[in-house]
């Protein structure tokens, strides 16, 4: 195959003309579809099967998660802008945008951390049961003096019920993917200071492109999770 490139080890003329690594990331994303598909399938199969609470409607807070979803969507915008910059050889803009992407990604993770701890410490108001039925563990003081309601811990942990196990595993593995993504982005950011980012520019921004595809994929997984687990999950409940 004719080849004019100056690179010393230039035997990368491929059958299809597509770079190996770009093909690799797309095939890998196809595989990841199956991974998240199976997690989502488990979540859906077990939806509404928990024997005890709390359920989605008790703990999920659509306001908070809408904001974090927005944050993640905007990180995708930053990502695509950083790729756009590097493919034009603009290292300075690239650095700005990719740092923004990583910051927004970390913000999303912060939201998730906040959310998870909130769920674990979730409190809810309960109606006081008739005195006779009152099991021993109810705080005696809560329902004294003719109170009709009392507040108690109604937290969700992965061990609480089926919802907890499926929810935390699904969103947790998504979060792990975001974490890997943030590390990847920060590595690219750091790498851009080596030889003024020449290595990143040289192959038309391919290195950034690969990270970007991964990042957007993690984003679209979240679009599905947000709809299925949060919006639809709470509405149906």
């Amino acid at each position: 195959m004719e080849h004019t490139e100056a690179a010393p080890h230039a035997e990368h003329a491929t059958t299809t003309g597509i770079d190996h690594r770009k093909m690799l990331i797309w095939a890998f994303l196809g595989s990841e579809c199956m991974f998240f598909g199976s997690l989502i399938a488990t979540y859906l199969v077990y939806y509404g099967q928990s024997i005890s609470g709390p359920g989605p409607a008790d703990v999920l807070d659509i306001n908070t998660t809408t904001v974090s979803t927005f944050v993640l969507l905007m990180s995708s915008l930053m990502m695509v802008l950083s790729y756009s910059a590097i493919s034009k050889g603009d290292v300075k803009r690239f650095r700005v945008w990719i740092l923004c992407t990583a910051i927004l990604g970390s913000t999303f993770l912060g939201f998730q951390f906040f959310e998870f701890t909130e769920f674990a410490h979730h409190h809810q108001e309960f109606e006081c049961p008739p005195a006779l039925d009152r099991p021993a563990q109810y705080p005696d003081t809560a329902c004294m003096d003719g109170a009709t309601h009392y507040e108690a811990n109604y937290g969700l942990t992965p061990r609480t019920n089926l919802f907890g196990s499926t929810f935390f595993t699904l969103t947790g593995f998504h979060g792990a993917h975001v974490t890997v993504g943030v590390i990847w982005l920060l590595s690219l950011f750091g790498y851009s200071f080596r030889r003024r980012g020449e290595d990143l520019i040289r192959d038309g921004g391919l290195n950034v492109d690969l990270a970007a595809l991964y990042w957007h994929f993690v984003d679209i997984v979240w679009i599905v999770i947000f709809t299925v687990v949060y919006l639809i999950g709470v509405t149906v409940a």
Binding site: T15, H20, M23, L24, G30, F35, S38, T169, S187
Partner: protein, 613 residues
């Protein structure tokens, strides 16, 4: 300066252990896969022989019920994940780049990584024998038998983590081969000119890439239950243990085709070569392979006919399952059509291939029998199923593996395996195989339940069990003959020359063993059976470069990927993390850190050291 080392290092060459540890050469990695997998094949065989000894007589007391459970579980896991799959991987590695006219795979270091991860996953899976508690639930590990409360030993944790690590290896390797096959074909090697073995590798790789994540999710859920007390398979919390069965078999059935499609690919190469005819109906064989791959996704619940999924689900899965017999049957007719009217040269390799056809038909027929769900209700969990699986996996996959070894051994080593010993090996294998597994049909129909460590006297099972045990030992003996043949031929085998079989595909156009760079000049392909076309073709005018043409051109101007230690380091981190997940989380974090360090170093290391020349 790149040294030229064949697959097996010669004592005169400066290789040594480091050459193997740091190799990124697909041929060496293939040899590593092959040898490792064959050792595990012997281990799995030994486990089988112990079980057969135990079952030789009624109420035999050689092993306890618990050890027997561990034996049949580990026998299956070892044979499937540590023998047949990596043996296929060995062929992928050895043959794929040679057949498509490439100098290596697309990602040589990732390829080395896949091997090392496989090795570490294998160690993790086998650790149970050292610490005294191997997995004991059958390879399918049905919940809730795997729950911590029912199965507190570490065996199940090794199962979970071991299979998870092996999954990483499989996916990495499969991605590598997908890219290699799509993107590294020699000029003119269009998709419909690909050798069938390459097609089957491609289909198998797609199955691996898509099926492995499903079992990974199942394993993660099991791990979460066992380690963190989650509820995925906790019936008290409302869980449905059937979910595990679904996740397992959604992976498990494509896995069956992962085991057999490479075998079918090997057969499709061996038969045309030794019939001196092109493969009969090439496009149909390719299409059948693809169809089998697709259909493999739509049949998984036939492993669950007796679960009680209801008549509709059972009917649907029965019909899809029976449909698979169509493309499979088409393939068998095409192989027979290839032999038909050919000048068949009955060397050992085609003998094994023909043996494959016979035995696979037997296994296929019993397969159609339990595709009929009411009939399966009688056969479920009896020795009838054991007979079926061994006819398709031993009679199918392993026979094809031997066919492939006899076929490609000269290419890999430059020497022929002894034909005389090979014939003994073949006929004893046929005898032992049928004695060992055919009686299991009778035993199964007679009601003998599988996975029981013993059976009472007077059930009428004694005779056939004894026959089966004798067959198993003949099989073991035949395998030892092969091992002898292998090592003897490695040193003293007849020199094969570059093209001992008058081969049809490109790997026979280069020296045996191939130089590190495989092809001094990348060939241009003008048709199917590219090398045959070059040798005997009707004047496309492409002259095959003579063997001597390579010598003066030794590596000149060809930059091969440099050896690298980083794949090993990266995978070591993964192995350490695996043990950490079983024993202690700080160790897991340490392992993850090593993997991360390896990944960074890897991404900064150029594939080819700049000053190699």
């Amino acid at each position: 300066m790149a040294t030229i080392a064949g697959v097996f290092s010669r004592p005169t060459r400066p290789t040594g252990i480091w050459a193997w540890i740091s190799t990124v050469d697909h041929k060496k990695i293939g040899a590593l896969y092959g040898v490792t997998a064959f050792v595990f094949f012997l281990v799995g065989g030994l486990e089988a022989l112990i079980m057969r000894l135990q079952l030789a007589r009624a109420e035999h007391g050689i092993v306890s019920a618990e050890v027997f459970s561990q034996l049949f579980t580990m026998h299956a896991l070892t044979m499937i994940f540590l023998a047949i799959m990596p043996l296929s991987a060995a062929f992928f590695n050895l043959v794929v780049p040679l057949m498509i006219g490439a100098r290596d795979v697309a990602f040589p270091r990732l390829n080395a990584f896949s091997y090392w991860v496989f090795l570490l996953g294998a160690f993790i899976l086998q650790t149970g024998w050292i610490v005294g508690s191997s997995p004991n639930t059958g390879w399918f590990a049905y919940a809730p038998l795997t729950a911590e409360s029912f199965n507190p030993s570490k065996g199940m944790d090794f199962y979970v983590v071991g299979l998870g690590v092996l999954g990483v290896s499989s996916v990495a390797a499969a991605l590598n081969f997908i890219i290699t096959i799509i993107n590294m074909r020699a000029p003119g090697m269009t998709l419909m000119r690909l050798p069938v073995f390459i097609w089957m590798t491609l289909v198998t790789s797609f199955l691996l890439v898509t099926a492995m994540p499903v079992i990974t999710v199942g394993l993660i859920e099991l791990y979460m239950d066992r380690t963190f007390g989650m509820n995925f398979f906790n019936v008290d919390a409302g869980a449905d243990v059937i979910l595990w069965q679904h996740l397992f078999w959604v992976f498990g059935h494509p896995e069956v085709y992962i085991l057999i499609l490479p075998a079918m690919g090997i057969i499709s190469e061996v038969l045309p070569t030794f019939s001196r005819k092109p493969l009969y109906g090439y496009p149909v064989v390719v299409l059948s392979g693809i169809t089998i791959g697709f259909m493999g996704w739509a049949v998984w619940s036939h492993h669950m006919f007796t679960v009680g999924l209801g008549p509709i689900a059972n009917s649907v899965f029965a019909i899809t399952t029976m449909f698979i017999a169509v493309p499979t049957g088409i393939k068998i007719f095409n192989w027979i059509g290839t032999l038909w009217g050919g000048s068949v040269d009955l060397k050992t390799a085609p003998l094994f291939a023909i043996g494959f056809i016979f035995l696979f038909i037997v296994g296929g027929l019993s397969g159609v029998m339990h595709a009929i769900s009411p009939s399966d209700a009688q056969q479920q969990d009896t020795y009838f199923i054991v007979a079926h699986i061994h006819y398709v996996l031993f009679g199918g996959s392993i026979m094809a593996v031997f066919a492939g070894i006899y076929y490609w051994f000269p290419k890999a080593t430059g020497r022929l395996l002894s034909e005389r010993v090979g014939k003994w090996h073949f006929w004893l294998t046929m005898l032992g195989m049928n004695l060992a597994f055919y009686p299991m049909h009778f035993l199964g129909l007679d009601g003998m339940v599988r996975r029981n460590y013993t059976y009472p006297e007077g059930m009428g099972w004694d005779f056939w069990n004894m026959v089966s045990t004798i067959g198993a030992f003949i099989l073991g003996f035949a395998t030892l003959i092969f091992v002898h043949n292998f090592f003897r031929s490695l040193r003293k085998g007849e020199i094969s020359g570059d093209d001992p079989w008058d081969g049809r595909t490109l790997e026979w156009s280069i020296p045996s063993p191939p130089p590190e760079y495989n092809f001094a000049v990348i060939p241009t392909v003008h048709g199917r059976d590219a090398f045959w076309e070059q040798k005997h073709g009707s004047g496309h005018g492409v002259h095959a470069p003579a063997g001597g043409a390579y010598d003066h051109d030794e590596g000149h101007g060809i930059h091969m990927p440099s050896p690298s230690i980083l794949p090993l380091i990266t995978s070591l981190g993964l192995g350490i993390a695996g043990y950490g997940l079983v024993y202690s989380f700080p160790v897991a974090i340490l392992g993850a850190a090593i993997t991360m360090f390896g990944t960074y170093a890897w991404s900064m290391e150029p594939a080819t050291a700049p000053d190699e020349h």
